[in-house]
Symmetry: C2
Subunit: 428 residues, 2 copies
């Protein structure tokens, strides 16, 4: 295929006419499809249904230590669930608090606590003139929504194949004491699907923050969410590396089983140094008497141990892989060589990140919507919803059925082509 | 019996000698009993065990509207659970958000949001020089812990048989714009067991707050937690009264099923005006994608409707009533007429509030501890843990078995007697 940029005006006009016919045909079909959010599909939800057989009215509801999960207590989570989740997060049990159903809520709370009470005794961030967070981009819109809500200034950091631009990260963190945090999805990044290299993790661990209360917000949302059994990304353990580097308190790690058991009915956790954990518990004890321990026990009784949990994740990947491949195949077949878009083939996670020609993302997402295919809003992957290039589009292939995905991704590439042609013709 | 205050010094010394022998005997028994926290007992936890039969791997997990509870969505709670809880709270479904497992956490979040973002657009409380809360006393220590943590100044308001001293409440709320809230447990109050009168509720609803962002924090924790079928306290509906009075946004109502289904694994809710609810949802959508909807559906499938829930509460009361009566009988038999303590016989809730002679509460709780009976710390029922009279002791009879309760309450009255004698002898 010829690159669009090398086409003559006449060729582009001819192409446009053909695409417009296709566009009208698709419009007439009245699609109602959604590739907007990282929601597991029905078949994935079925995988965890046996978890609902774990308990009945005659079940023993005690923990291994004999604590009754049906009553108050165990603010930091029941021991066996802390162990299970710690193993999943590749940290020690004592470094983990198992919380409620939402790791996003823990991240929100962690920022909220820092704003109101400071970090381990530092000045509350709300008392400071300026608080800044670094935001590797493209990134997760819900992270950016938290920092925006609290009035924290967000600074874009380019995200490369091996992680954020670490020269820039070091420059900011080591010199500007207003920089208090950085949002990271280090493994199978949302949305790019890439994993930070060992070198990147080590450079993170060896930062010399100007602010003593600087923290890395390490959202390891996709720690066991591989797509391929034989091609799994490995992420270096940041907690261990921070310890080695003499920065034991510098990182908060977050994870959940939202995309392992049930979204909204899983368990979530924060892992950090024992010093940080103790400081968090001191405040958390005012916030709640405890989290849902019956659900914690349900998870342990169902998954047993991290090996079984990994086997369970293989079932998820068997469902997700064909969906990802359907989208990637369509992108390759329809857009390969045209020079109007680029994408990365992820080995895990929930997204495919697509970069259109600059200035086309909003147009493409708008066209998709017109054809009945809802995409994540263009710009959503950037702080304040502003993609300076108007180029990045997050594709979420997990929820639709494979058949729907075929249709949705064909609609998507059609819109990419038409928008690109129009852009090259100078029409917007 | 002769009142202790009317005894001669010799009589008191004789009494003391006898009590000290008893004290030594009890000490030798090595008790290990706890009347400190409002934890349901084992028999109560068993009542909800059939809730664990509600779901199995073949269950239909959809809401009545067809939403899959296993996936993300329904930030404000699933419709049928909002209806159930609204009926329990005696408000409309649209006035309720069903949240996670802890109403305390909702209260914390509500204060935290007001601190960081203000109330419906008002100045964030953290930007103000001074924020004050009124605290009817004795009250719930966990309420006071939240306001203390956020640096909110707490002002004691005497709590009478019919509710807080409303002259004082009106004086503060209507004249001091730094007064932003008041903590209330209006029904079967923690710890006094009393219920606000209709007159009190109407005076609350007709406040003219100096601060537009003043809110009543109405913790209706014991709304359906009666001890007697034929003697139930009735609480006037504050939301309706506030509407009538032209103050529709002035109250936040909290409740949970922690003491209906399982503590820590129930559902909790906030009820308020639709204006307040919409403002809360706007912020809550940044905090979480949603709460545990499977557990919400589990509650609905188990309780069916509020009538069944009330029948379920009757089973709780059948277990709790004898425990309360055992303690009350011991108090009456052992302390009646001695003039060294007073208490109220509650018709619901989780506590018996005991007032010793001034200056004796700490001593009594310390003696109980020495004998192996853990009570709620003296002072805990007051802001900053400071009971100005050192008189109030909260008794929680729910957790121990009836047999343990017999022993524990006899130890308690023994300590009350001995401490009172020592006090009258001027020994401390």
């Amino acid at each position: 295929m010829k690159k669009y940029s090398e086409m003559t005006r006449d060729e582009l006009l001819t192409m446009k006419a053909a695409l417009e016919i296709e566009y009208k045909e698709e419009a007439a079909k009245g699609h109602s499809l959604n590739m907007a959010r990282g929601k597991p599909g029905k078949a994935q939800l079925e995988l965890a249904m046996p978890m609902l057989d774990v308990f009945n009215s005659h079940s023993d509801m005690n923990t291994l230590l004999g604590n009754d999960t049906r009553n108050y207590g165990d603010l930091d989570g029941i021991g066996e669930c802390r162990r299970l989740i710690a193993n999943m997060m590749e940290v020690e049990k004592d470094n983990v608090i198992v919380c409620g159903n939402s790791s996003l809520n823990i991240m929100y709370d962690t920022v909220a606590r820092s704003m109101s009470f400071g970090v381990n005794g530092s000045t509350p961030w709300c008392k400071l003139d300026k608080v800044k967070f670094l935001c590797p981009v493209p990134g997760y819109d819900r992270h950016f929504a938290i920092t925006e809500l609290f009035g924290i200034e967000m600074i874009n950091i380019p995200l490369y194949d091996d992680g954020p631009d670490m020269d820039m990260v070091e420059q900011y963190v080591n010199n500007d004491s207003a920089v208090k945090g950085i949002w990271c999805v280090p493994k199978y990044s949302n949305p790019t699907g890439q994993t930070y290299s060992d070198e990147t993790v080590r450079r993170f661990a060896n930062l010399h923050p100007a602010a003593e209360d600087f923290r890395i917000f390490w959202d390891n949302a996709y720690c066991v969410h591989h797509l391929y059994d034989d091609q799994q990304d490995q992420l270096l353990n940041i907690l261990t590396e921070c310890e080695k580097a003499g920065n034991p308190d510098m990182v908060y790690i977050f994870a959940s089983t939202s995309k392992i058991s049930f979204p909204g009915s899983g368990v979530s956790a924060i892992a950090s140094s024992q010093n940080n954990i103790q400081n968090i518990l001191k405040l958390m004890t005012v916030q709640t008497i405890g989290h849902d321990k019956i659900n914690q026990l349900r998870h342990v009784r169902f998954f047993k141990d991290v090996e079984h949990l990994r086997l369970h994740m293989k079932k998820h990947s068997d469902i997700l892989r064909p969906k990802f491949e359907a989208v990637l195949q369509t992108l390759e077949e329809e857009l390969g060589g045209l020079g109007i878009g680029s994408w990365y083939k992820p080995r895990g996670g929930y997204f495919i990140s697509f970069n259109s020609m600059p200035g086309c993302a909003k147009k493409i997402v708008g066209m998709c919507k017109e054809l009945g295919v809802v995409m994540t809003g263009a710009g959503a992957t950037y702080p304040y919803g502003k993609d300076p290039e108007d180029s990045n589009i997050r594709i979420a292939p997990s929820f639709p059925s494979p058949e729907e995905l075929q249709v949705a991704s064909r609609v998507f590439v059609l819109c990419v082509k038409l928008a690109s042609v129009e852009k090259l013709l100078g029409e917007f």
